[in-house]
Structure formats: structure tokens, C-alpha cells
């Protein structure tokens, strides 16, 4: 079976004087239904890689494909949540959440009723018709996450989806995410700066070196699912987390 995400010798430099070589020699895969995370220091090129996969940037060289389609030629193959969420200021929260589904041709009724349920579960109940500017930072981020998952795509690209969430809300979101992933088995590529989060959610974790970003290490997270607090507090988890942090530190210096 072909991998859902495949990246070969990818490099991208942003034009300028001098150009900024964001990523270089990136090689990675994600199997269908796999949950893969990407960690790396700030500014190393994680978002750049995701934008390439989302079809938004044509890389300077190399190859990238998503679900068998050439990501440098097509767009909209994967569901993509950009860093910071990004909501349309002129749509109310609920309409923002269903936007991806609507664009993909899902019936408005169906999308809306699905979104309504999730609003409750996401702690957004009562804010369905709030404007984005009336939501707190974390609430906006959850609406964007909702939107991404309501988009009917088999591959999902998430760029720091929980950056603005507190520990408790984040834990709830983790539980939900593991749930959904277990049921639907969509392929997920997940950018995070939280090592613990990466190990909790992923099958595998890639570590990206500092700019020009390239993948320097790969960890497998072997723990049984669902992974709750017990696993996170287990010594094995702590050890692996330590190793991952070390790798990250080595990659960032």
C-alpha cells in the first residue's frame, strides 16, 4: 500500500536578499491511518513543510505527495489547520466551523447538526453565533480545529492546534482526538511544540533540526491506547520523553 504522505528530498527557500532556506533534504512518510507528529525548534521550518503538503507553497525542489496526489501540483487534498487557527471574521462561530465541510460539498444541514454536537463537547456551547472577535484565543483555536475535522478528508494536517489551550482543556481535547482517530483512522500529521503531547497522541514522532530544517530523528511511541494520565506518568513514558527532549535539544543547537 502506498503511504498517505510521502516527502522526498524536499527543500524550500523563501526568496529574498539573502533567501531564507527554510527546509532542506526532508524525507518522510506517513502510512494510511497513521498519527505522526513533528517537533522542532521555533523557526525551523515546520509550518513551511505543512504548507507544502497543503499545496500552498511550491517547494524549490523535491517531491511531496498526499494520498497519491502530487502536493506540488494540487491543493485541497488534505484538511489543513494553519498555525494560529485563522477564522473568517465575517462568519459566526458555527458557520466558521462548518466552512470546510460546506466547501467540500457536505450538505449544510448535516454539517451544522454535526458541528452543534461538537460545540458542546468542545466547551463552546452557547457561542454558536458569536463572532470570532468575541471568542477568547483558545476558543478560536478550538473552532478552527473543529472546522478541520469536519472537512471530509482522509489526511489531516494540524499546525500547533493546541498552542493556546490550558492543560485541562488540552487534556480533554487529547481524549477527544484519540477517540475520533481510533474510530475514523484518518492519517494525521501533527505539528506541536509539546513533546509530551506528541508522545501521547502519535504513532511516530519526527524531530526537525534548526533551520534549514531537516528531519534528524524519529521516535516510535509504543504505548497502548487510549493513553491517559497513567501512561503519561509512567517511567517508560518519562524515559522516552527525556530522550525525545535530548534529541530536540541536540537538533536545536
Amino acid at each position: 500500500m502506498e503511504p498517505a504522505i510521502e516527502v522526498e528530498n524536499l527543500a524550500h527557500a523563501y526568496p529574498g536578499k539573502p533567501p531564507v532556506q527554510a527546509v532542506m533534504d526532508v524525507n518522510m512518510v506517513a502510512a494510511e491511518g497513521e498519527f505522526v507528529s513533528l517537533v522542532g525548534s521555533s523557526g525551523c521550518g515546520k509550518s513551511t513543510l505543512l504548507k507544502v503538503l497543503a499545496g500552498l507553497i511550491r517547494p524549490t525542489s523535491g517531491h511531496a505527495s498526499v494520498d497519491g496526489q502530487d502536493a506540488t501540483q494540487s491543493i485541497g487534498v488534505a484538511a489543513y489547520m494553519p498555525q494560529g487557527g485563522v477564522l473568517l471574521p465575517w462568519l459566526r462561530a458555527l458557520a466558521n466551523a462548518t466552512l470546510g465541510a460546506t466547501i467540500a460539498g457536505v450538505g449544510r444541514k448535516e454539517a451544522t447538526s454535526h458541528a452543534r454536537e461538537l460545540f458542546e463537547r468542545f466547551g463552546l456551547g452557547g457561542f454558536e453565533s458569536a463572532w470570532p472577535s468575541e471568542l477568547s484565543g483558545g476558543m478560536q483555536q478550538r473552532v478552527a480545529l473543529l472546522r478541520t475535522f469536519l472537512t471530509p478528508r482522509s489526511t489531516i494536517l494540524l499546525d500547533e492546534p493546541f498552542g493556546a489551550l490550558d492543560a485541562i482543556t488540552r487534556r480533554e481535547m487529547h481524549a477527544w482526538l484519540q477517540d475520533v482517530w481510533a474510530n475514523e483512522r484518518r492519517t494525521v500529521l501533527f505539528v506541536t511544540h509539546d513533546v509530551e503531547e506528541a508522545l501521547t497522541l502519535s504513532d511516530r514522532v519526527y524531530v526537525m533540526s534548526k533551520r534549514p530544517g531537516t528531519l534528524v530523528a524519529e521516535f516510535r511511541s509504543p504505548f497502548p491506547r487510549p493513553r491517559g494520565r497513567e501512561i503519561q506518568t509512567s517511567p517508560e513514558f518519562a524515559t522516552l520523553k527525556g530522550q525525545l527532549l535530548d534529541a530536540l535539544e541536540a537538533a536545536s543547537s
Binding site: G76, L88, P89, W90, G100, I103, S133
Partner: protein
Amino acid sequence: MTVAIDLPRARLPGAGSAGRFLANYLPATLLLVALVGFWEAWVQVRNTPSYVLPAPSLVWEAFLRTRGTLPGHTLTTLNESLLGLGIGALAGVALASLMTSVAIVRRVLYPLMIVSQTIPMIVLAPLLTIWFGFGIEPKVVVVLLVTFFPVLVSTTEALLGADRNLIALLQSMGATRLQTLRYVLLPSALPGFFAGLRIAAAYAVTGAVIAELMGAQSGLGLYITRSNSAFRTDQVFVGIVLVALLSLALFAAVHIINRLATPWAFAGKGDNS
């Protein structure tokens, strides 16, 4: 609630109470009354001949004297203005959408559009009359020509200035050009569109009045030129006041539509986030 932000607060809809309404429009009204009073006094004291600047009282008399014919003239002009402005706004938005989605179209059309604004009436008038006759059509065409341009330019610039993050988001969803237009470009172009429409609204009535000089049976333009040729400066001023009032009304209508059409711009007002 906001302490320090005067600007956004000033934009809040003047919703509701008559007191608020008064507070909003009293200063302008007072100034107007003061100006008119000053004008009357000036004319009286300086003894300015009425054919140079008629006193407001004379203008009022002229209004009473000719009020029988005024509704007809006003309606004609209003009709021409509204039709022309409506078609002009539609044409402006359509052209702006076209010009921003296809770069070549923009490069080809933009110069032509500018040229369309530079053709003097003196040349256009006989051609328009020859093509469209003496009915309402040539006037509507003139208003259209006057009004589509501000709408076109400011909508185009607003479309080009749309947040690239949002465009990228829509594209990452596999949105078609039309969907991107509908969900991102048009909403983010609304402030620009309305700025253009405001300018256009201020010009529409004047455009109709000018167009009536090409040949008309009725209209405020006719009223003004007739009065002018008879040296009835007082009546000329009646005509001008009516033109100004019509223009103000159109402008105010655009303002109200703007508010209704962009509710999000007035949300989150208890805050600055």
C-alpha cells in the same frame, strides 16, 4: 465599555434612543442653522445683489413659488440617479471581480476604464443622444459612467488587499475561485466597496443633473439651467439645495446599508481583541 478607543466607539450603530440620535445630529443641524443665519445676515448687511448670492429668505420664497413643478423634476432626477447608481455599482463590482481574478484582464481593462472617465461631456453628449435618444437612457448611462468607476477602483484595491492567510485557508480547502470570491474576497472587499459606493452616491445626482443638459423634458438639471438663463439665482439655489439633499439621502442610505451588511465590524465592541 472601552475606555480609550474613540474610533471604534464612534462607529457603533447609533441604535435606539432618540437622545442618542439627537446627540449625533444636533451639532450638524446647529452648524447648518448658524451658517444659514450668517449667510442671511451677510447678504443683508453687505447688500449683495441677489443675482450674485440670494439671501436664504429669497431662496425659500423661490421654493414656495415654484413648488408646483418641483416634485416632478425631483422625481425624474431621483429616478435617473438611482437607476444609474444601481447599475453602476453592479457593473463596478462585476468588473472588479473579473479584473482581480484574471491579471491580464486587469492590465487590459484598467487603462480603458480610466479613459472612460476622461471623455468630456461635450463629446459624449451628441454621441449618447444619437445612440440613446432623448429618454431616460442617456442620463442613466451618464450616471452609470460616473458611478461605476469609484466602485470599481476601491473594490479592486480592496480585493487585491484581501488577507492572504484567509485566501490560503480557502484554497487549502479546495475552494473554487467562485467560493474563494464569495467567502473571502467579497466580504473583505466590503469596506472598500462601500467607500467607493459612498463616493459614487455623492456623484450620482450631480451626474444626472449634468446629463439633463444633453436634452431633457424634465429634471432638476432642467430646472436649474432654465432658472439660470432667466437670471433667477434664487431658483438656482433651490435646485442646488434639492440636489444636495438628494445626494445626502443617497449617501445616508449607503451608510445604513453598509452597517447592515457588515455586522461583524461592529461586534466585539466591549473589547479590543
